[in-house]
């Protein structure tokens, strides 16, 4: 599903170029539940942004479902991401002046889907995630776990092939985190490829594969495809 070849990303600040991703090459198959781990600054979120096609400043090659992302322009990448990818954020990113139902509907509102169809999809999603009773509430009226549940529902409403989650339980206590991870597992078992970034070993255990990043390099990969880091002097 995902094939990265020598993907690199750096930021230029002042006269210094700081590398956050170095020659990342990895393949993720459909149905995988991948966990990206690593210390702060290792490049986890940067890699996730590349996969989410939110970032287009990287170098290298990236194939997604047979499409060469590196050859697409910004609009084409956005269209592809809109169709195939769902995102879950650590701080939920629900829009506070929208109800639960409206938040869930948001990704659909950016597609050419008739209103009635959208309403049906929202109703199905609310039902699937068992939050029908909350549909008219606003985010601030929900607990953190409930908000993240809505965030996942929002990410899943358009049935993406790939679900990306950046520290999805980072703001939740353990009980809530467990519920969310159970949800991920279920989604994965239903056919959604999941890539999550986390610090938690417990959460990582829900996945099928762990990729560890260090200083922008793939340090280890339980799928065994990781390349050892080269010795290099960084400027």
């Amino acid at each position: 599903m995902i094939d990265l070849r020598n993907v690199e990303r750096s930021y230029r600040a002042g006269g210094t170029e700081t590398w956050v991703l170095r020659r990342i090459s990895l393949t993720i198959q459909p149905w995988e539940f991948v966990t990206i781990m690593g210390p702060s600054g290792a490049g986890k979120s940067s890699l996730l942004n590349v996969l989410a096609m939110l970032d287009d400043q990287w170098k290298g090659e990236f194939d997604f479902d047979g499409v060469a992302v590196h050859r697409l322009n910004r609009k084409q990448r956005a269209d592809l991401a809109r169709q195939k990818i769902g995102m879950v954020f650590q701080s939920y990113h629900l829009l506070d002046d929208m109800t639960v139902a409206e938040n869930i509907d948001l990704p659909l509102s950016y597609k050419d889907i008739p209103r009635s169809e959208r309403q049906a999809m929202v109703a199905d999603t609310l039902d699937r995630f068992q939050i029908v009773a909350k549909k008219d509430l606003y985010p601030h009226q929900l607990s953190g776990g409930q908000q993240q549940l809505v965030g996942i529902a929002r990410a899943m409403i358009h049935k993406p092939a790939l679900l990306l989650a950046d520290e999805p339980t980072g703001n939740l206590h353990s009980k809530q985190a467990q519920e969310i991870m159970e949800m991920f597992r279920q989604l994965n078992q239903e056919g959604t490829t999941i890539v999550q970034v986390t610090h938690s070993e417990t959460n990582a255990a829900y996945g099928t594969r762990i990729i560890e990043l260090r200083d922008g390099w793939v340090h280890s990969d339980t799928a065994g495809t990781a390349q050892p880091p080269l010795q290099e002097v960084r400027s």
Partner: protein, 850 residues
């Protein structure tokens, strides 16, 4: 006090820290306060300022209209504001309530005085003289700058001829030469003594762009007055004086008004006009209205009052829009400083203290804006004065801000500071300290949002009102200027002069006129030359009731008035009157030939409406006994001479020197031509000096009172309309700009605040188009609500300017549509920039700011 100084210091430090904000706010305020201060300078000078006299509160004017300059018959509404000399004497003697009641000449027009000092080599100058009674300066309570002022003893038969010179004329024309006082001048060929100089601040008894240069005792009116060289002094049927008196303290004005009205009727009853049976209702209704006289004769106030009040309203609206802008800026700043406010609150600061600190900052800012505004006001006033009075010689209005204007600007700055400061201060001081300290910016709504949007909506609505007003004014001006006056102005010149001031006797006029025309014809490039009593669109008008032979006598209420003037042979060709029937005035129409007149089309329509042939008909103006005085020999096309907003008046034209058979003694004043009109073959270099020299060669006392192109004279008719239209347009564009900046600011702020949200939306699939549409929807919603409020408001407000419009309906769909379109485009542009910026949001960065 210490705390206030501390607050001011802190405010200055805060302003220094944000130079961008401070400069934007100061420039906006300077424009708003400056525009208001400039208009106020004019309003104060024209509408509010009292005469610089000792006790203006005790001055009372007898009359309330701007009637001018010599009038007969029954005044409009039977309301007397202009009086005959004998009537003045009658009123003065019967009203001991006045400590002193003075009279002064109403019309100080083109025909002034010709003055020559006793200095060797000095040439005669055309100056303006005003005939006043001997108690004039006593009533005003003035002290001379030099010498002495006119005394009652100067205003008696046999007194030595002495006049007072104005300080401005003394400075301007005689280099403040002290030897002028006591010296002998030649005025209108008569030797007179210069008694003294008026105080520098005195500009006459009324605000005018050309104040008098000489004050002349009433007894000298036969030589210097408006009836010169005959006299109005003892004519009972000619009203030509304004009255201004100093009442005794404690006088009941209502009682005095009733008493004077009764006294007026007693006098009028002795006049033949009011002895007619059909004039008894007019006699019974004749009255005077007493008005405050502290500001003198308020003719200019009446002329400019409505326009100035409109301009001050417009400039106040602009300031209000500016205030809304600054309030928005302050709100944004307040939001940005929430953490600081919260820390202060956490440390124990009371809300009142915080509000005071923020208000101090607002007021300091507005005072800085006010200071910069004074510079704008100074420049603005200069521009305004040049626009309002383009030909003024000694306009008594200074562009330099006076103490009153300074006070106004300061008060306005304080008020502005409070207006734009109070809401942001309140909102900011009511933020939740805990939230702010946590740095919580997750929420996509905040309490200042609705206020900011309301301010933008208010700005949009006010801007639309101003745009509609400006559109109507511009359209009205265009219709006024582009209407067909009937005149031809290209290569035409108008020269005003005064043969009576040069001392010519009636019997000398034929020779003088022939000489002038011959000599001017001889100038290279001059094609045609003609003399006339006055010219089109110079503001002059002579009119009388017409009595037509073979018709019944018109009743008291009959509308039988017509305007008239005397013209020379080539006059019709020069100004553009086409001879439609019969003939024009020719050189054969001399003082001794058959008395004839040529009438205009409006005259034929008014008096020969049943298709009778006007040619050969006879009429006169001195009652039924005069019906055979003149024969109509021609009809010419219409030209507007006076009120441009009304249809052309019925007019007739007489030869220069024919005197009416009936009451010929009252017909001689008009024998003195007041203007020369020339047509040139293209541009002629130095024509003005050639004309001046030609006249001076005939007689050095034939001075040019005014020289102008005909085109400029016609254009001058629209000075006030042009000024109001231009200023309204300028203010409305300024308002539009401020409103657009306001909308831009609020939208940009909203985009900045919603960056994380936009990032989330983009991460969830929103495209650039979706983001642009979202931002534009919000911006346009404010503009549309502004329009929804502004359209009906403008609809209502145009009623207030309806009286100022010419041939334009208050509810002009084109102007309204145009204004809505302009505002919509401005809003689109203002919204598009932040919308584009929003669409360029990098979702990765946006999400990171969360």
């Amino acid at each position: 006090m210490n705390r206030l100084v501390q607050d001011i210091k802190f405010a200055l430090r805060q302003l220094r820290k944000s130079p961008g904000f401070t400069i934007t706010a100061i420039v906006t305020l300077a424009l708003g306060i400056g525009a208001n201060a400039a208009i106020f300078t004019l309003v104060h000078a024209v509408l509010l300022k009292n005469l610089p006299v000792s006790d203006p509160k005790l001055l009372v004017r007898v009359g309330d209209t701007d009637d001018c300059c010599v009038e007969g018959g029954v005044p409009d509404q039977r309301d007397y504001s202009i009086f005959a000399f004998e009537l003045y004497q009658h009123l003065r003697e019967n009203t001991p309530e006045f400590e002193s009641l003075a009279a002064m000449q109403a019309g100080v027009g083109y025909a002034g005085v010709t003055a020559r000092s006793n200095k060797p080599g000095d040439l005669p100058r055309a100056e303006r003289g005003e005939v006043v009674t001997g108690n004039y300066f006593q009533v005003l309570g003035l002290q001379p700058y030099a010498g002495r002022l006119i005394l009652p003893s100067d205003d008696v038969q046999g007194a030595p001829m002495g006049v007072v010179m104005s300080y401005q004329a003394w400075q301007r024309d005689y280099a403040s030469d002290p030897s002028v006082v006591g010296s002998t001048f030649v005025l209108n060929t008569y030797p007179v003594t210069i008694l003294g100089i008026t105080p520098p601040s005195f500009y006459g008894d009324r605000m005018t762009s050309a104040p008098p240069d000489f004050y002349i005792p009433m007894v000298m009116e036969p030589n210097f007055g408006p009836g010169n060289p005959t006299s109005l002094l003892h004519r009972r049927d000619a009203n030509w004086l304004y009255l201004l008196g100093k009442i005794k303290p404690g006088t009941d004005l209502k009682q005095l008004e009733a008493k004077m009205s009764a006294s007026l009727r007693n006098y009028l009853a002795t006049l033949p006009l009011y002895q007619r049976q059909d004039r008894q209702a007019d006699l019974a209704g004749a009255h005077v209205v007493l008005t405050p006289g502290g500001a003198g004769i308020e003719n200019m106030q009446q002329e400019y009052g409505v326009g100035l009040k409109m301009l001050i309203t417009v400039s106040a609206l602009v300031l209000l829009i500016a205030c809304a802008n600054i309030a928005n800026l302050m709100l944004v700043r307040g939001m940005a400083r929430r953490a600081e406010t919260s820390i202060r609150m956490a440390l124990g600061a009371q809300r009142a203290r915080l509000i005071r600190q923020m208000l101090t900052e607002s007021v300091v800012l507005s005072c800085l804006g006010g200071l910069a505004g004074l510079l704008v006001a100074y420049a603005g006033t200069k521009v305004l004065l040049a626009m309002a009075f383009p030909h003024a010689q000694s306009l008594p209005i200074e562009a330099t801000p006076s103490l009153v204007v300074l006070g106004f600007a300061f008060a306005l700055s304080l008020l502005t500071g409070l207006i734009f400061g109070v809401a942001p201060a309140w909102v900011t001081s009511h933020s939740q300290p805990a939230d702010a300290l946590r740095g919580s910016n997750r929420t996509t709504s905040d309490r200042s949002g609705w206020l900011q949007r309301s301010l933008v909506i208010l700005q949009a609505a006010l801007s639309l009102i101003l745009l509609v007003g400006a559109g109507l004014m511009a359209k009205s001006l265009s219709k006024l200027e582009n209407q067909d006056f009937g005149v031809v102005t290209q290569n035409r010149v108008v020269v005003h002069f005064s043969p009576e001031s040069a001392g010519y006797k009636q019997e000398q006029l034929q020779g003088l006129y022939d000489k002038i025309i011959n000599d001017l014809h001889a100038l290279p490039g001059v094609d045609k030359a003609a003399l006339s009593l006055y010219t089109p669109l110079e503001g002059n008008n002579w009119g009388e009731g017409v009595y037509i032979q073979g018709r019944p006598e018109p009743g008291a209420q009959a509308k039988n008035g017509a305007s008239w003037l005397r013209v020379g042979p080539e006059y019709f060709d020069i100004v553009g009157h086409r001879v439609l029937r019969g003939r024009g005035i020719t050189a054969q129409d001399t003082a001794t030939s058959l008395p004839v007149v040529v009438v205009n089309e409006a005259f034929v329509k008014k008096f020969f409406s049943n298709g009778e042939n006007p040619l050969g008909a006879h009429f006169g103006i001195s009652g039924m006994e005069s019906v055979g005085d003149w024969e109509i020999v021609g009809v010419v096309s219409d030209i507007k001479y006076n009120d441009l907003r009304r249809p052309t008046r019925a007019m007739y034209f007489r030869p220069l020197l024919q005197v009416a058979h009936t009451k010929s003694q009252t017909d001689t004043r008009s024998l003195y031509a007041g203007a020369i009109m020339l047509t040139t073959k293209g541009q002629v270099g130095n024509l003005e000096s050639q004309v001046r020299r030609t006249l001076a060669n005939i007689n050095p006392n034939l001075t040019v009172v005014d020289y102008n192109t005909f085109e400029a004279q016609v254009r001058g008719q629209f000075d006030q309309e042009r000024m109001i239209a231009r200023l309204t347009l300028m203010f409305s564009l300024l308002a539009l700009m401020l409103a657009a900046v306001g909308l831009y600011g609020v939208t940009a702020y909203s985009v900045a605040r919603r960056t994380p949200e936009i990032g989330v939306r983009m991460a969830l699939g929103a495209g650039r188009g979706n983001v642009v549409a979202m931002v534009m929807r919000e911006a346009m919603l404010q503009a549309i609500i502004g329009l929804a409020i502004g359209i009906p408001a403008a609809w209502l407000c145009v009623r207030l300017v309806q009286s100022q419009l010419y041939n334009v309906g208050g509810h002009d769909a084109m102007v309204m549509t145009g204004s809505v379109l302009v505002l919509t485009i401005a809003a689109l542009l203002a919204g598009l920039i932040p919308a584009q910026r929003a669409a360029s949001t990098d979702p990765v960065k946006a999400l990171r700011t969360e």
